[in-house]
């Protein structure tokens, strides 16, 4: 008698779809719960003082301003290197190179750069930038390491943006007497900018949140003053959170959760901005 319940394909489908929904819920709800929990415990700590003051009494009080500034400096440095390099590399692949063995090797290299574990980037940054190039533990070393790490994101996003520009624009530019670089500069790049911007934002978001690459290349736990040049070490948000959470006893919850909240809030805001920009330009495109 009971087996009639699951006999029909429709019933099986309903059951199956519910199982799928449950799976998705298992994936989503814990994280949403975590975010809510973090807001609950960290929000009390998010005072103006927290965001603008320096830490006191062994990080347990005061603010996280130096960590925020350090992260900002790092990210700016990263962009200054990775954005031009990545955009030009994408222009090369998309507009200059004919598909060949070399372009396949380049693409393989990009895939590999994307897959290198972040801690291995940290090792490389240590061995190459800090030691070999003698940059020392510095913003410069950290920014350069993060730049190489962000390259795949920027190249991929830029290539996609370039490819979305209609081929006819290029034909028109050529037929009007443009050289290849003029064609790229005036008839392609301006229309690929939203996509490039999205890629840059996503790259920034990732770089801001990464700890392992900066562990040995730039991060300092406590600095008496803000970094004065790119050759100074700096405090950064992710590393600060890590140390607060694992190495300092008796930190008030609102300080650690507050730091975590600032970091997550920053990352989520950036990603939301990227999503919104992407959607906006997809809608208002004129071609």
């Amino acid at each position: 008698m009971r087996q009639g319940l699951l006999a029909s394909p429709q019933a099986r489908e309903r059951l199956a779809f519910w199982l799928l929904r449950i799976a998705l819920a298992i994936v989503l709800f814990p994280v949403l719960f975590i975010l809510a929990y973090m807001v609950m415990r960290g929000a009390p700590g998010l005072t103006w003082e927290f965001l603008t003051a320096v830490p006191r009494s062994g990080m347990r009080a005061g603010g996280i301003f130096p960590a925020i500034i350090g992260t900002v400096y790092l990210v700016i440095g990263m962009l200054l290197v990775a954005l031009p390099l990545g955009v030009f590399a994408a222009i090369y692949l998309s507009e200059y190179a004919h598909p060949s063995r070399w372009t396949r090797v380049i693409r393989l290299a990009i895939v590999n750069l994307a897959g290198v574990p972040s801690v291995v980037y940290g090792l490389f940054g240590l061995g190459f930038f800090v030691m070999f190039l003698r940059l020392g533990t510095s913003i410069a070393a950290g920014a350069l390491t993060l730049a190489i790490m962000s390259l795949p994101i920027i190249i991929t996003a830029t290539e996609e943006a370039l490819r979305s520009v209609p081929a006819s624009f290029r034909q028109v530019a050529y037929s009007l007497g443009a050289t290849r670089w003029q064609m790229v500069r005036t008839a392609v790049l301006p229309y690929a900018l939203p996509g490039i911007l999205t890629g840059a934002i996503l790259g920034v978001s990732r770089a801001a949140g990464e700890t392992a690459p900066i562990l040995f290349t730039v991060a300092a736990f406590y600095l008496p003053r803000l970094p004065q040049s790119i050759f100074d070490p700096a405090m950064t948000l992710p590393y600060h959170l890590y140390v607060l959470a694992t190495q300092i006893p008796n930190v008030p919850a609102r300080v650690t959760y507050g730091t975590a909240l600032v970091l997550v809030g920053l990352v989520i805001l950036l990603n939301l901005a990227a999503i919104i920009i992407r959607a906006h330009f997809r809608r208002t495109r004129q071609w």
Partner: protein, 252 residues
């Protein structure tokens, strides 16, 4: 002394990889004439046209033998391809306005060459749009987006865009294929006006259009030039049987 024809094409053969697009075509095009190029699909008309401003070279598998001379000078020996394309302009089958204002579209090409003073820029815009028979319709909205124009207006804008460079030759690749009859008439009218100053090469799928507009007409078939003659004579008393068959619509 005999002046060389504006364009002299000699034994031009074109391949794309293994595909032969054009075989041993020789043709002389005279200054300030409209020459129509007709023929069915895949007859090599577009490959022929795009050889004249070296646009075929954008295709990775392009191979060419034969010569093309512009005012007696071999175009493939010219080092600056961009300069050639400024002398030989092109209008494509589908209008491609760039997503900018009407004025910016017209000024696109001249600004690649040098910075323009405001008065010079305005003069170029008015001159080019007038020559393309579009000035009256858009003179009050030059800063509106070009995407808002109708199809026929966009195509005339594309003509104005090439005219901004004051080329010597203008190549038309089936320019009215996407347009309604009224817009087509306006474009054809513009072409006839342009003949006074420019040399026009018009590739068209529409034999009636060639009959209306062209001074001479050439028939291409399967990559070969079959016949080229004064338009009236080609259409009323063609010399080749294939020409006769194509014109009377027995194949297409």
């Amino acid at each position: 002394m005999v002046t060389p024809p504006k364009l002299h094409i000699e034994q031009l053969s074109i391949r794309f990889g293994d595909l032969v697009a054009l075989h041993a075509v020789s043709l002389a095009i005279h200054a300030r004439e409209i020459i129509g190029v007709i023929g069915p699909a895949n007859s090599g008309k577009t490959s022929f046209l795009r050889a004249i401003n070296r646009m075929n070279e954008l295709h990775p598998a392009y191979q060419r033998t034969g010569t093309i001379a512009l005012d007696g000078e071999e175009i493939h020996a010219m080092r600056d391809v961009a300069a050639l394309r400024r002398r030989v302009g092109m209008v494509f089958a589908l209008p491609v306005p760039l997503p900018m204002s009407i004025a910016q579209n017209v000024l696109y090409a001249p600004q690649l060459v040098r910075r323009l003073a405001r008065s010079a820029a305005e003069a170029i815009v008015e001159r080019s749009l007038t020559a393309a028979s579009l000035w009256e319709e858009v003179k009050d909205r030059l800063h509106d987006s070009a995407m808002k124009l109708s199809g026929g207006q966009q195509q005339r804008l594309c003509i104005a865009r090439t005219l901004a460079l004051e080329p010597e030759v203008i190549l038309f690749d089936e320019p009215c294929s996407g347009l309604d009859p009224i817009s087509t008439a306006k474009v054809e009218e513009a072409m006839v006006q342009l003949k006074q100053h420019y040399t026009l090469v018009l590739v068209t799928n529409n034999t009636k259009q060639a009959a209306r507009v062209a001074d001479r007409t050439a028939l291409f078939l399967m990559g070969e030039l079959i016949e080229c003659d004064d338009t009236k004579r080609l259409f009323t008393a063609p010399r080749d049987a294939r020409t006769e068959a194509y014109i009377s619509g027995r194949f297409g």
